[in-house]
Symmetry: C2
Subunit: 428 residues, 2 copies
C-alpha cells in the first residue's frame, strides 16, 4: 500500500459532507480498490459550526477555499462549492497553479470556463475531473470518455434535470397545471435557489454542453445550446401527447451534422414506450449513440448526497490509481471550435391547434402545411367545444423553418383559433 492520496474538500454541503461520510465509513474498501487510502486532510466551508452530521475534527479547517486550494499538503482539490464565478473558479485555478489535481461537481463553472480550465490543468500537468457534474451518480462521463472512446459518437441525449422531469411527471399524474406543481416543487426543496437554472433548462444545458465536448471533440460551447424551459408546457399538451403515444420531456440532444454542431435543450415528445418515455420522477437518463456500439442507455439518480458523492469518489479513486484522462477526453488544445448548426435536423413534429367549426376548415389547414412541404403522418380531431375543435397532427419529418412558415400562414386561413402549439418529436 503506497502513500495516501491527500485531498482537500471545499464546500461541505450535501456533496462535500457526503464524500466525507463515505471516506469515514468505507475507508478500507476504498483503499483496497484505489490501491492506497484516500485521506481528507483539510476542508473548507462558510460556517464551521454548522452540524453536518459528520465529524470534522480530523481535518484541518480553512476559512478561505483559495487558501485550501494552495495547501502544499494536499494532492487533490475537491471543489463542491458551486457557483460558476467567484470563489469556486478562483480556488480551482489556484489549485491547478499549485500543482494539484482537481475534482469538481461544478457543471456551471465548466460550461462557462471548461476550455480555459482544461488548458490550465494540462499546462500544469494536472487532471481536472468532473464525473459528479453530469447526471449525478450515473458514471456517464466515464462511459463516454473511456467506455465508448472507440466510437465516433453520433448523438448524445439526456434527461438530466430531475426537477424538471419530476414536474412534468407530476403534472401528468396529478393533472395539475405547471404553476401549481412548480410551487409544490419549491416547497419540497427540489428547486435551485434560482429556479430558472432548473426550469429554464440552464442546468441541464450546462450538462449537455459538457457531454457534447467529449462526444465530438469540440470546445465546450454552452452559449450555443438552444435553450427552452418547461414553463410553457401545458397539461393539455401532456394529455394530448399521451393520446398520441408520446411523453413530453425536457430533453437535451447534441449531434454533429454536416451543418455543424447541434445542441438543443428543450421540451420534446418521445415515444411513451421508449426508455426516455418511461422515465418517471426525478431519475436521470443519458443516451449515448456511437457508430460501433449503437445505443447505450444509462439510468440512475441524478442528484442527492449519495449519488453525487459516489461520482466524486470515482474521480478520486481514478486519480489514486493513476488513471489520468484529459478533461474532455483528448488534450484541450486539440479540441476543435465547434461550428454551431443553424436549425435542427428535420424531425416529425406534434402540432396542436383549435379549428373553428366551418366547412372545409381542416382542408385549409392541410393545404397550408402542404404548401410548406409538410406532410401529415397522423391526425386526430376531437369533438367541438364552444365552436372550435382541438386538432392534433403528427407530421412527417420537417425542418423547423418550414414549420414556422406554416405556423405564420395558419392565421390567414381564418379557421384556426388562437396560436397553434408545435413541439419537436425526437426519434429515440
Amino acid at each position: 500500500m503506497t502513500a495516501p492520496l491527500r485531498i482537500g474538500i471545499a464546500g461541505l454541503g450535501t456533496v462535500g459532507a457526503g464524500v466525507l461520510r463515505i471516506l469515514q465509513a468505507q475507508g478500507d474498501l476504498i483503499a483496497a480498490r484505489a490501491g492506497r487510502p484516500i485521506e481528507a486532510v483539510a476542508v473548507s466551508a462558510r460556517d464551521r459550526a454548522k452540524d453536518r452530521g459528520v465529524p470534522l475534527d480530523a481535518h484541518a479547517w480553512e476559512a478561505d477555499p483559495v487558501a485550501l486550494a494552495r495547501r502544499p499538503d494536499i494532492d487533490v482539490f475537491v471543489e463542491v462549492m458551486g457557483g460558476h464565478e467567484g470563489a469556486a473558479k478562483a480556488a480551482t485555478e489556484a489549485a491547478l497553479a499549485a500543482g494539484h489535481d482537481v475534482v469538481t461537481a461544478n457543471k456551471a463553472m465548466l460550461a462557462h470556463h471548461g476550455q480555459a480550465l482544461a488548458l490550465a490543468a494540462e499546462e500544469a500537468g494536472r487532471v481536472l475531473r468532473f464525473e459528479a457534474a453530469v447526471a449525478g451518480g450515473i458514471p456517464v462521463i466515464k462511459a463516454l470518455t473511456e467506455g465508448l472512446a472507440g466510437n465516433r459518437m453520433t448523438r448524445v441525449m439526456g434527461v438530466m434535470n430531475g426537477t424538471c422531469n419530476y414536474i412534468l411527471t407530476r403534472m401528468e399524474e396529478a393533472g395539475l397545471p405547471y404553476a401549481e406543481v412548480f410551487e409544490e416543487a419549491r416547497q419540497l426543496g427540489y428547486l435551485e435557489a434560482d429556479p430558472r437554472l432548473d426550469v429554464d433548462g440552464i442546468d441541464a444545458g450546462h450538462k449537455l454542453s459538457l457531454l457534447a465536448a467529449i462526444a465530438f471533440g469540440t470546445q465546450v460551447a454552452f452559449d450555443h445550446v438552444e435553450l427552452e424551459g418547461i414553463g410553457s408546457v401545458t397539461i393539455e399538451d401532456i394529455r394530448r401527447a399521451a393520446d398520441m403515444g408520446f411523453k413530453i420531456k425536457l430533453l437535451g440532444v447534441a449531434q454533429m451534422t454536416g451543418r455543424g454542431l447541434e445542441q438543443r435543450m428543450r421540451p420534446c415528445l418521445v415515444p411513451a414506450t421508449s426508455p426516455l418515455g418511461q422515465l418517471q420522477g426525478g431519475t436521470n437518463m443519458v443516451v449515448l449513440e456511437g457508430d460501433s456500439v449503437g445505443q447505450v442507455v444509462l439510468r440512475g439518480a441524478g442528484a442527492g448526497a449519495g449519488p453525487t458523492a459516489s461520482a466524486v469518489l470515482s474521480d478520486l479513486i481514478d486519480i489514486a490509481r493513476g488513471n489520468r484522462v484529459p478533461t474532455f477526453g483528448q488534450p484541450a488544445a486539440t479540441l476543435a471550435r465547434a461550428r454551431p448548426a443553424k436549425g435542427a435536423v428535420p424531425a416529425p413534429h406534434y402540432l396542436r391547434l383549435r379549428l373553428v367549426d366551418k366547412p372545409g376548415a381542416l382542408a385549409k389547414v392541410a393545404r397550408v402545411l402542404g404548401d410548406s412541404g409538410i406532410s401529415i403522418d397522423r391526425m386526430r380531431q376531437y369533438g367541438h367545444e364552444e365552436g372550435s375543435a382541438p386538432v392534433l397532427i403528427v407530421t412527417h419529418k420537417t425542418t423547423r423553418a418550414a414549420l414556422d412558415e406554416a405556423l405564420a400562414a395558419l392565421p390567414e386561413t381564418g379557421v384556426v383559433e388562437g396560436a397553434p402549439v408545435a413541439i419537436r418529436i425526437e426519434a429515440v
Copy 2:
C-alpha cells in the same frame, strides 16, 4: 504523440475483424483520444485465406496464437478466439509470461480461470482487461470497477444473454412454444454452436460470476452460480405472468448476504413496468446497486461485431492512456474466497396450479401454504376447463425452502391436478 501501442489480435471472427475495421476506419480519432496510435502489428486465425471484409496485408500473420502472444514486437495481446481451455488459455498465459498486457472477450475462460489469470497478470506486472466479455458494448465492467468504486455494492443483476431474451420475448409476442422459437433462433444463427451455453444460462452465468467478483471483492466462483435455463418456461406461464403484471426474464442476480454470496441465473418474474420488464428482444441490461449511488441501470447491445469491438477498443485505449486497473478492481491476492449462500434471500413467488372442481378446494391450498408460513398477496382463479381451473397466486416474501415444503404437501390435498409451477419474483 508518443510511440504507438502495438497489438496482436488472436481470432478474426466477428469481434477480431470488427476491431481491425475500427482501427483502420478511425485510427486518427482513436489516436487523438488515446494520446498515441493503436497499431495492429500481427494477427492470427485459423484460416488465412478467408474473406473477412477487411484487408490483412498490413499485419504480420501467425498461424499459432501462442506464437503471436509471444511476439516481442507487441505490447498488448488481444484474445478474441473464444473457448475456455486450449489455445485461448495457453496464448493468454504465454502473453502474460512474455510481459504483454492482455485484452480478452472470453467470459468462459475468465469464469473458469479468472483468479489464476489475474494473479499471473499481476505477478508479471501486466493488466488483463475484459470489457467485451460482459454485456457486449455496454461499458459495465468499467462502470462497476471504476465508476462505482466508491460504493459498497449491494446487488448486481442482469439480462445478459440476448438470445434467451429474444426467445422469451418472441414466445410472448408470437404466442409460440419454446421448442418452436428455439428452432427459429437456431435457424437465424442466434444460438451458440453448443446452444446449451445460451439456453441453460451458462454463458450468462459466466458473466454474472465476473460481475460478482468485482462487486463483492471475491474470487470468481462460477461453480457456485445456481443455474437454471429457459427450457422449462412455458407460453402459459408467460401469459399468466403478464396477466398479473409481470414478465419472465432469464435474470442473473448476485448479492452478498449475511449467509454468504448468492449467485443465481434463472428465470424470474419482474414487474412489467420496470426497466428489466420492458427489455425486449436481444438487448442486454445490467442493474448495479450500491449503498451510495442507489440503482444504476445500463442498457445496450450485448453482442455483435460493432458493440463487442467497441468494448475491446475501450480496454485498448485505457492501456494506451496508461490506465491500469487490477482485473477485478483490486489486487487478485486480496480477493476473498466467497462463501456461497445456501438458498436465496426470501422473495415473493408466483405459483400456478390447477385446482380440481371440488368444494373447499381453494381453502385446502391456502391452508397448505399457511402451514408453511406462506401468505398470499394476490390470487386469481380462472374459469374451469375440463374439470379443473388454473389458479395464480402471488405470495408475500417467502424462502424457497418453505415453498418447497408447501409444494411437496400440495398433492396430498387431493385438489391439485399435476405439478404446480413456482417462479421467484425478483424485486427490481
